[in-house]
């Protein structure tokens, strides 16, 4: 990070992801209420909260898979554009990992990982495949490269999904409940990959119920309830000394079962 291109200098100063006064309604339901959130470069932010608190919607709004009605979201100093080419370009810099993996069912594991780099980044097939195999190696599924998604376990599929997102060399990675659809014994293999990513300095926004991961890897925990950010602090103070009653209540329910 010693030499920055001229265009990047300005952007490099501010937060990588910034949400200002974000509001969203599903019909009458006010799912995101006046959200302000900034995520710095290299920061790992874990978003937790009860179901229906709006945390998944927040995650999906950051790359505009959900549109918002009010407020502003910017990534690397650039405001999220309306639907179109500019939005596609911005999304290519934002990696996304879904709860249900969403690997392309008709493509092999290798093709899943090379699709973005070849179609969006216009990389050559050979370069994209070399990089894809490295990434698959790294997440521990290199041996499955020629299989189809349905032939892999959930944990393997989710690790492929992470490799697919990383192949785009994203500035930030969004994880929308990445382990919620997994059998318990597969959760750790996915969390291990995520933890090592966090250690390497990837900027991450992670919606999860895995409190162990939050303690281990997060720089900051954001607690949401009823569409609002109720609390935002470092993991140690959040878990040992939550400020709001709602957070205390939530933690008592999930930590002592």
């Amino acid at each position: 990070m010693t030499s920055l291109a001229k265009g990047e200098t300005r952007a490099a100063g501010g937060p990588l992801v910034r949400l200002t006064g974000v509001n969203k309604w599903f019909g009458d339901l006010h799912v995101l209420q006046d959200i302000d959130l900034s995520v710095e470069r290299g920061e790992v932010v874990v978003v937790i909260g009860p179901s229906g608190s709006g945390k998944s919607t927040l995650c999906r709004a950051i790359n505009r898979l959900e549109s918002i009605q009010q407020g502003e979201i910017s990534i690397d100093g650039e405001r999220l554009p309306e639907e179109g080419k500019a939005l596609a370009r911005l999304r290519s810099d934002v990696g996304m990992v879904f709860q249900s993996f969403n690997l392309f069912a008709h493509k092999t594991i290798l093709e899943n990982v090379t699709l973005g780099p070849t179609r969006v980044r216009r990389k050559s097939k050979a370069d994209a495949e070399r990089r894809a195999r490295e990434l698959l190696e790294r997440v521990g599924v290199a041996a499955q490269a020629d299989k189809y998604p349905a032939q892999l376990s959930g944990g393997q599929q989710q690790r492929v999904a992470i490799a697919r997102a990383l192949a785009m060399e994203p500035k930030v990675m969004l994880f929308d409940e990445p382990t919620s659809a997994l059998d318990p014994e597969m959760i750790n293999e996915v969390l291990d990959v995520m933890t090592s990513l966090a250690r390497e300095g990837m900027t991450m926004i992670v919606v999860t119920h895995e409190m162990g991961f939050a303690r281990r890897a997060a720089n900051r925990v954001v607690f949401m309830d009823g569409g609002r950010v109720v609390e935002s602090s470092d993991p140690e103070s959040f878990f040992t000394n939550p400020q709001s009653d709602r957070a205390k209540d939530f933690l008592s329910k999930i930590l002592n079962h």
């Binding site: 596609a88 370009r89 999304r91 934002v94 990696g95 179609r119 969006v120």
Partner: protein, 216 residues
């Protein structure tokens, strides 16, 4: 067997005409129907409206009326197809495209939304998402209904006989006038011609369906 040997050239020519009507119209309808299906799921409201209008017009108009319009109707606005065959291909393609579109659209709706979301999240635009992720999966699920559309088209080509195209049904009219004493034989020959197109198609559809199936 002198009936067959006397008329083999006529029958063979009629068979080829029916086959080429079906194949050429089928290909045109597939292309046009795919474009229409893309329009019907696009985020641009005028495109959606236009495609919906098209589908409703052609799906709900009798094919014979479409033929009448393209053969005689457009003469009023100083247009004419170079041949009756071309007019028949146009009528069959325009009509069948509406059904291809609806079959494909049902396939598109059957692709889990997460597939398109993952593609968009990678930075693919709407067209790329449709072409590389959604349509290839949609085509696989609509092989059986598209097969039905194809077989219906193969049989619908018979309407062209009413508009001076020398297809199998036209041959039926001609031969039954000349061979009133051997009508059963004439019918058998004509039906065999249609079956020679539709039965292998039904078999091919089953093979394709098995081959392109995707496991989920």
């Amino acid at each position: 067997m002198d009936f067959l040997s006397d008329n083999i050239d006529l029958l063979w020519g009629a068979f080829l005409t029916t086959l080429s009507l079906a194949v050429v119209s089928g290909l045109c309808a597939l292309v046009l129907g795919t474009v229409l299906a893309g329009m019907r799921v696009s985020p641009v409201p005028p495109l959606r409206g236009l495609a919906t209008f098209y589908v409703e017009v052609f799906r709900n108009t009798p094919l014979t009326v479409v033929f009448f319009f393209l053969v005689f109707g457009i003469v009023q606005i100083d247009l004419q197809f170079p041949s009756r065959f071309a007019a028949a291909v146009a009528a069959l393609s325009l009509y069948t495209a509406a059904f291809v579109c609806e079959a494909l659209r049902s396939g598109i709706n059957a692709v889990p939304p997460g597939q398109a979301e993952a593609a968009r999240a990678l930075g693919l635009d709407f067209g790329q998402t449709l072409r590389t992720i959604v349509l290839p999966q949609a085509f696989r699920t609509v092989v059986p209904p598209l097969g039905n559309v194809w077989i219906a088209l193969a049989k619908n080509t018979s309407i062209a006989a009413g508009f001076a195209v020398a297809d199998l049904t036209a041959a039926l009219q001609r031969l039954s006038n000349a061979n009133a004493d051997r009508l059963l034989l004439v019918f058998a020959a004509i039906v065999a011609g249609y079956l020679a197109i539709t039965l292998p198609s039904a078999w091919a559809i089953r093979v394709i369906e098995k081959r392109v199936a995707i496991i989920r």
